[in-house]
């Protein structure tokens, strides 16, 4: 339906009478994930951008952009298959992934084999970019685990929380964070006093939390998604204040509507979430929110629970359109090359002078990371403002 919407949008934009073949953008998202809002945010960001681009005449001389979506349900195996399917589409120029790094990690071989550029608006694992393949077909406009670790250590240090307890998912993402945290704490007074591993679907983290407290953790670094965060918040909220510790949460917890999932308990715990993007009221922000309202009936930020994903997807779509335009074709290696050679882009997340270079496929930098806290309205606001 979204595809149809995109096409309709393209037609309505005054496309030539003989409609040009659309240039396809693949979405490989965790649509089937129960609590995930990241996929909605990314899709909306892409569609708002496509809408803007198509309204502006499309790419490659009038070819509209169209979106092809596949659901990997956060399961890498399905993602791999999705990539194969999407790569088989001749006019598909690139794929935007979802928030799950393990999916992307497993897609890496086939992506490079099929020379399909993958743009990550969220998946934060270092391995998504640092996989050693050249030419690399993965690009990211989001934070990165190692940057998160440093930001967490820095913030802990700033708040005098030198003893960190870590809750890690027993996945490649968790292990990536562990390694990053170990690197980040090196040479700092902040020490990881305990780390507890969990598996997806754990119904409770109280045991791990208590264990970390027993280890002497002054703060808890939660590497997880909205499900884990919501469970932990509810469990912490039930604890006496003396047993409550500040939670420093990874960007993943914003993959769902945490404010809804955690409810009132969200305000009872000291939760800080690292984010590469906050709505701050800039004109472009109002513009895209309006577009989202027009396109999706989204009223206000509260209905965009994963704003960073939305913003990153919006920016990456524009960058991709520019790269296609720049490449002059839908040839994916050419597009990939073009992505490395894009000029300055004043995006929703930030203004990028050189979004990507052959040596750097990270559009952002560690300095772009900030902690945010939920306000009473359930909106994440920059913590330090």
């Amino acid at each position: 339906m979204l595809l149809i919407l995109a096409i309709v949008a393209a037609v309505a934009a005054g496309a030539p009478a003989e409609p040009a073949r659309p240039v396809l953008i693949g979405l490989d998202l965790e649509i089937g994930h129960k609590t995930s809002t990241s996929d909605d945010a990314i899709r909306r960001g892409v569609l708002v951008a496509v809408d803007e681009i198509n309204r502006a005449g499309g790419v490659l001389g009038g070819r509209p952009l169209a979106v092809v979506e596949r659901d990997h349900r956060s399961v890498p195996a399905r993602g791999v298959e999705n990539i194969k399917e999407l790569a088989a589409m001749p006019d598909l120029v690139a794929v935007l992934c979802g928030k799950f790094s393990p999916v992307v990690i497993e897609e890496l071989p086939v992506l490079h084999q099929l020379e399909l550029p993958l743009l990550s608006p969220w998946a934060a694992s270092d391995g998504v970019i640092d996989h050693g393949r050249t030419p690399s077909y993965t690009f990211r406009l989001s934070l990165r685990d190692s940057w998160v670790a440093r930001a967490v250590v820095r913030r802990a240090s700033e708040h005098g929380l030198r003893r960190l307890g870590v809750l890690l998912p027993n996945t490649e993402w968790g292990r990536s964070n562990k390694a990053a945290l170990a690197e980040a704490t090196r040479g700092t007074p902040v020490k990881v006093v305990g780390e507890r591993w969990y598996n997806w679907g754990e119904p409770s983290f109280l045991g791990e939390y208590d264990a970390l407290l027993a280890d002497g953790a002054q703060a808890i670094f939660l590497v997880g998604n909205e499900s884990e965060a919501a469970i932990l918040i509810r469990e912490l909220a039930a604890l006496p204040p003396a047993r409550q510790r500040p939670i420093l949460a990874h960007h993943g917890v914003m993959g769902g509507d945490l404010a809804t999932m955690a409810g009132e308990d969200l305000r009872k715990v000291d939760l800080s979430v690292i984010q590469p993007f906050f709505f701050t009221g800039r004109p472009i922000e109002r513009h895209v929110l309006e577009a989202a309202r027009t396109l999706f009936g989204v009223h206000g930020r509260r209905q965009l629970p994963s704003p960073a994903g939305f913003a990153a997807a919006y920016d990456l779509t524009h960058l991709l359109a520019r790269a296609v335009q720049k490449a002059g074709s839908t040839q994916r290696p050419a597009v990939r090359d073009a992505l490395e050679r894009l000029g300055p882009y004043d995006g929703l997340v930030k203004r990028l002078e050189h979004p990507f270079t052959p040596e750097r496929h990270e559009a952002l930098s560690p300095d772009d990371l900030h902690f945010g806290r939920f306000n009473a309205a359930g909106l994440l606001e920059p913590a330090d403002r």
Binding site: K34, V75, P76, R78, T171, E172, G201, S227
Partner: protein, 844 residues
Amino acid sequence: VTVGPALRWLEERLRAQRAWFERSAFRKLLAATLGLALVLAGVMTLGGFLVARRVIQQSVLSELSARAELATRELELTVGGVMDSARALARNGIVTGALVDSQGRELYLLPLLRDMASVAPVPIHLAVVDYRGRTLGCSLHQHEGSFAEAPWIPSVTERGETRIDVERGPDGAVLRFAQPVIFPGTGRPEGALVVEIPLGAILAKFRDRRPNQVLELVDPEEPGRPTGAATLDDSLVVVEHRLTLGGDGRLRLRLGLPHEVAFGGLHRFAIATLLGVMLAVVIVLLVGWRLAMRLTAGVRELSLAVVDAAVSERPGIRVPARGEDEVGALGAAFNALLARLEAVSAAQLAEQVERRQGAERALLLAREAVEQAVEAIEVVDSEGRVAFSNGAAARLRGVPADAAVGRRWEELFDRDGEWWSGVWRRLRGERSVVLPLRIHRDGETIPVAVTLVYFELDGEEHCIATVRDVREQLRAEATERLASLGTLAAGVAHEINNPLAYVLGNLSFVRDSLQGAAEGGLPEEERRALVEAIHGAERVRDVVRSLRAYSRPGQGPPMRVDVAAELSGALKLVGNTIRHHARVVEQLEEVPAVLARPNELGQVFVNLLVNAGQALRPDSGRECEISVRCHATPDGRVAVEVSDTGVGIPLEVQPHIFEPFFTTKAVGDGTGLGLSICHGIVTRLGGTIGFESEPGKGTRFTVLLPAAGPVVTAERSPRAEAPRGRILVVDDDPAVTRALARVLGRTAEVSVETDPERALGRLAQPPFPDAILCDVMMPGVTGPIFLERLRATDAALARRVVFITGGAISETISSAVAATGQPCVEKPPDPDALARAIASVRPA
């Protein structure tokens, strides 16, 4: 070559056995009992074996079923435990994480799977696959298999079904359990935990426990896909048990045991039972055999002893009676019987023997009597054929008895078959028939009385023919007739003699009175009439005497007889009959006397004269003449010839005329006894009788009699002197007494008495008579009784009695009179005889 003798030997043995059996009741009983026992033992053994086999089979099958159930349960428990673990494992975070964590697979999943596999009770294979079956991790270091794109994968990873399949792997049946792995992030199955459980290995554990049993898993719906590790074939006893693994219950555990293992015990039991029964049967046979031999030996010994006792004439013999069994008891019983038998008296035995011998003798006698019977006895069948003939019959027929059998019976009587048919019909109706018949043999005709009695023997009709020669019977009948005639004649004579006595006496008295009173004074005519009256009376007297003589021949001792006088008497007797139609010529010469009983010769002569008269045929035109002649022959015999001019005797008849009952006369004219009687009398007197006859001209009979010896005291006494003295006449007939009184009264003093009692009374007192004339036949007191009573009172007087009789009525009285020794004068008394009698009794 060797079969023949062997078969013969076997046959002989069998025959010997059969004879041996048939000779012994005990052995038959034993054979029957043993046979029955054998059959019963066989039936019971078979039945017991069948029941035991059924029970054991059921027991074995039940045991097998229990084993199969146990194995099934153990298998299910084992597999179920593994599957339970797998279900838990599928929810394990490492497993779910493995769906999204490729790095974690190496780090955690593989060790986990391997550890899980290693602690499983059976060597299982654990694998985690993604939603398309591609392996994410597995417990095997080198897993060759892959479930990628397997057809069953979508049912697990798309529809979240738990899948249980049994596949045939290279090492046997493998149960594959696929549990969907639910990814927490989506709450949906995103992969599967697959456990492969080698059922063959589990079954092998059972097999290791019980090496002789065979286990396999089968899928009845897919018979071509046996899942077991072993092959069940017909040599096994098989039970099945449903396997509930996976819920559809399709799989079955099939447990088999080799027949030898399952039923080896049964077979050994059967063989042992059969051997035991056979051994028992052999023992029973041997024991029974031995027992029978002992029993039969005892019985045979007893039998032989009993036979010895039976045939032995030695008294006191006993049979052996050993032991207290039935044989011993039987021997004792026999001994008791022997003792009892010996106790029976020899006399009884002898009597029995004698009785039996008597019976046999009687039988022989009966046979001999029949054989020797005077009467011919023959048995004749319905066809008239002689079936039996005794000696008399043979003699009658003139052929041997054997030759008579089979001949026609009626031929004996010169009759034909038609006659026999009539006789047979009558016999069948009346059952007994008497026939007067004649037999003609050698020219002789024999009158016979034939009695036929009908009888049936074994359904065949016969009759007994008794042929009796009735010649003697007829002769006796004729004699009896003559005797009756004699008695009649005697009675008549007695009745005539009394009146004749006083008729003749009175006439004589009148003549003598007239002669004495007036010699010649009586006119000639009256004198002649008186003389003729006296002659007529004397003639009556002579006829009566001849009649008496004829009717009582041969009585008394032989005496000298005047043949001529006898001839004259005969002529007087029959003269009346013959003189009517024949001229009688008498030529009687004086001949010597002959010795004969009174009247015998008269009978002969009367017969000859009667025959001669009957032979005459007055209408023949020839002169009828009977010539009677007597004369002495030169050789000193007396010849009497009676000849006639009659028809003569036919030549064919001539040889038979002296045979009894042979007659040519019509019935009623003669008895046929005449000539035969004559022949008999003459022959008895030492004489002969013969005849010459020429048919149509006449016949002459000649009797030759030997003369008596010279006369010694045959002097005829001189004429007696007239009686004198007192004479008492006692006679119940007053006419007789008066006549006697007149005749005797001339010279004697005569008193008469008609009542003997009064006479005895008169004689009791004087004057005593010099002679007493006493009638023999008086009412109340006969002459001899009168004499007896008189002797009782006066013996001397009794010697003066002279009996006078008109003829003895009975032999008894005649004998009584003769026994008295007193003289007896017949009425009408001859005056000389009376005078001599009176003179003989008068006292001197």
